[in-house]
């Protein structure tokens, strides 16, 4: 069992000892159903910290900010940053380690097992509430969520409102950590790729209709890539945001930047963006499904990434984020990789 008081105690200790610069954790937000990231710098602030199924966010994203900040500072504080990680988040850390974007010394990993649960899916709850607004929530014995709205109080078994990815999660505990709470039971969901089945069973035309309808909604707010811990490029390949320009970048270089996609949120450009993003996450996506959660227009982005996760698993027996030493999916091969699709 994960005991919040113990975590706070550890958090307080490491802050007091100066072992970490600060701790990235979760606190309550103005939205009862969602925790917000919080950055605890002082031991006296640790009471802000919470840990429950509203802690959706993959905080690993903030390690990227930390890296950028450090790069700008002349004499950076090189102490690690403490960070709360769930199972999926820990795999993100592994991918970052694998890609040498961070080093193990940069982080002090406070590993929290989701055990047999996971995080909530707000949309599932809204469906259950049928339009009523939650005012207060509580968790009862880790079994149920008790939601009070203005009208009434209802109790919903957690299993019914867990995020889809949590139901398909195969390792709900951090695979890398400095301190750890909870159990390390491997889950083995019967159908880890069940959510894909519906689309996979469609005809080509129906598949296209589905994705066309979904992706044409995209407004290119780029929340999906902004929230993704794997999207750490200073400059996105498909959409040159020119961040990588420095004083010595020549005009020639700048003028030769390729515009793989246009800024217009047209179907072709939206597909261009999402397809390239999916490819770039192949073998890297750790299924935190933050992209899907944050999408304001509800594009089921997880289903894109999950598909390639499945392909990687089935064709190449590859799973992302389990081992920081393994080579990346696309920078390795096996002699026996399938080639029945090749003439």
């Amino acid at each position: 069992m994960v005991n919040l008081e113990e975590i706070k105690k550890e958090a307080k200790n490491i802050l007091e000892e100066g072992k970490v610069k600060y701790i990235i954790g979760y606190a309550k937000s103005s939205n009862a159903l969602m925790a917000a990231p919080t950055f605890v710098k002082k031991p006296e602030d640790i009471d802000k910290l919470i840990w429950d199924p509203t802690c959706f966010q993959n905080l690993v994203k903030f390690l990227l900010d930390e890296k950028r900040k450090k790069a700008r500072e002349k004499e950076p504080d090189i102490r690690p940053v403490g960070i709360f990680v769930k199972g999926c988040d820990s795999r993100a850390i592994n991918v970052l380690l694998q890609e040498k974007f961070i080093t193990r010394e940069d982080v002090y990993i406070i590993g929290l097992s989701c055990e047999d649960l996971g995080v909530l899916d707000e949309k599932k709850i809204f469906k259950k509430l049928k339009g009523e607004e939650p005012e207060k929530i509580e968790f009862d014995q880790r079994k149920n969520i008790v939601i009070s709205t203005k009208e009434k109080t209802i109790k919903i078994p957690l299993k019914e409102i867990l995020a889809e990815r949590c139901l398909e999660c195969t390792s709900s505990f951090p695979v890398i950590s400095d301190v750890f709470w909870g159990d390390r039971n491997n889950r083995s969901p019967k159908e880890p790729f069940k959510s894909l089945e519906q689309i996979e069973s469609l005809s080509q035309e129906k598949k296209w209709d589905f994705w066309q309808q979904q992706l044409s909604k995209c407004i290119r707010c780029y929340a999906c890539r902004s929230v993704c811990p794997m999207c750490y490029c200073d400059e996105c390949v498909v959409d040159s945001i020119n961040l990588a320009i420095t004083a010595d970048t020549t005009a020639e270089e700048k003028s030769q930047k390729i515009k793989w996609i246009e800024k217009s949120p047209e179907s072709s450009e939206n597909f261009g963006y999402h397809l390239v993003r999916a490819m770039h996450l192949a073998g890297r996506c750790i299924d935190c499904s933050e992209c899907e959660r944050v999408c304001p227009v509800d594009i089921p982005l997880r289903l894109l990434n999950k598909k390639l996760e499945k392909v990687a698993k089935e064709l190449f027996d590859y799973k992302a984020g389990l081992d920081p030493e393994q080579p990346s999916l696309v920078s390795s091969f096996k002699d026996e990789d399938p080639e029945d699709f090749i003439r």
Partner: protein, 345 residues
């Protein structure tokens, strides 16, 4: 002109508006969005906040400015592309979103006027609906000078009165819409008006969130430009464009050229929404960026809305719709920020 329309007759009214493109909120899977209505019988006005404000119709995310065609010899051809003449009615506009349109009207209406904006705007009729109950738990229109039954910017304000709507026609455009099916409406009685007042009063009480003493905030902000406050507040920002793209008042844009052919060179110049939250928004081509970090960009968003715009147009560039709060992936809450600003020492 105040009228009463039974709910049953509502579709009939819409059917009479065939010369217009009619938009109304429609539920698509889990979210509400303004869509062109084919079947007026299916309009459902018991809707929550749409994700995108009706600005997506009056000020679409992409607008073609011009088309060009050049060849190696001879002079290039440039063809202006103004939006087609197509009068539109938007049903179910929330008063906050209507107010937002008045704010962008001012920006795009200032000389020199923006021809693309106005050729759409001039043809758009806004039919609002009193928010009773509020469409979002994060509504705070009352704090920024609006109300759930504000008429500002609307051509007609409808109020749900159970089995009927109270229809308040506010402009000539609005009158015209009613005239299209005059026989469906009957005049509002004094009793109706009394009931309306009650409904409107109650609707105000339902707004839960507020920013107290907002009047002091613009002045307060003036002294906070250099404050470390912004660093703290922006820590959890992930620099996505949700807050601004969904904001009914945000209007920043980009102009880019898109090619459709390279030989001969053909293409178009388009305007697309842009946002101060994207890192490259203000980046000079030299690489120098006056707003290099997310703190300075969050500051710009708040200052633009609650200081600069107030200085330039004597109004907040915010109508309290709450979208940026509800949809911020990281729970950044503009009300909390402003409350902190107010109390900042």
């Amino acid at each position: 002109m105040e009228k009463i329309l039974t709910k049953k007759s509502f579709p009939a009214w819409v059917k009479n508006l065939q010369s217009y493109t009619v938009y109304a909120p429609e539920k698509q899977e889990n979210l509400w969005s303004y869509e062109v209505i084919q079947n007026p019988d299916k309009i459902n006005l018991e809707y929550l906040n749409t994700v995108l404000a009706p600005k997506k119709i009056t000020y679409p995310q992409r607008e073609i400015f011009l088309q060009f065609n050049t060849s190696k010899e001879g002079k290039p051809q440039i063809k202006e592309v103004l939006p087609e003449e197509q009068p539109a009615v938007i049903f179910g506009v929330r008063p906050c979103d209507a107010k937002a349109i008045t704010l962008t009207d001012k920006v795009f209406g200032e000389e020199p006027k923006d021809p693309y904006y106005w050729s759409r705007r001039n043809q758009t009729i806004l039919v609002g609906l009193t928010c009773n109950p509020p469409p979002s738990p994060n509504c705070f229109c009352l704090s920024v000078g609006g109300s759930p039954h504000s008429k500002e910017g609307l051509d007609i304000l409808m109020t749900d009165m159970g089995d009927k709507y109270h229809i308040d026609s506010l402009t000539k455009k609005g009158e015209k819409l009613i005239k299209a099916a005059e026989n469906l409406f009957k005049p509002a009685s004094p009793k109706d008006k009394k009931e309306l007042e009650k409904i409107q009063r109650e609707s105000e009480k339902k707004i839960k969130r507020e920013i107290k003493d907002i009047k002091n905030i613009p002045d307060k902000l003036k002294d906070m430009f250099e404050s470390p406050f912004w660093d703290e507040e922006a820590m959890s920002c992930i620099r996505c464009g949700i807050c601004t793209y969904l904001c009914p008042t945000c209007y920043c844009f980009d102009i880019t050229d898109e090619l459709t052919s390279t030989l001969p060179l053909k293409g178009k110049r388009v305007r697309t929404w842009d946002t101060c939250q994207f890192p490259d928004f203000t980046m000079h081509s030299s690489g120098h960026n006056p707003r290099p970090d997310k703190a300075s960009r969050l500051r710009q968003r708040i200052l633009h809305k609650f200081q600069y715009h107030v200085e330039n147009y004597q109004d907040y560039l915010c109508t309290g719709c709450g979208r940026c709060i509800s949809l911020c992936p990281m729970g950044i809450d503009i009300i909390e920020i402003l409350n902190k600003v107010r109390d900042y020492e």
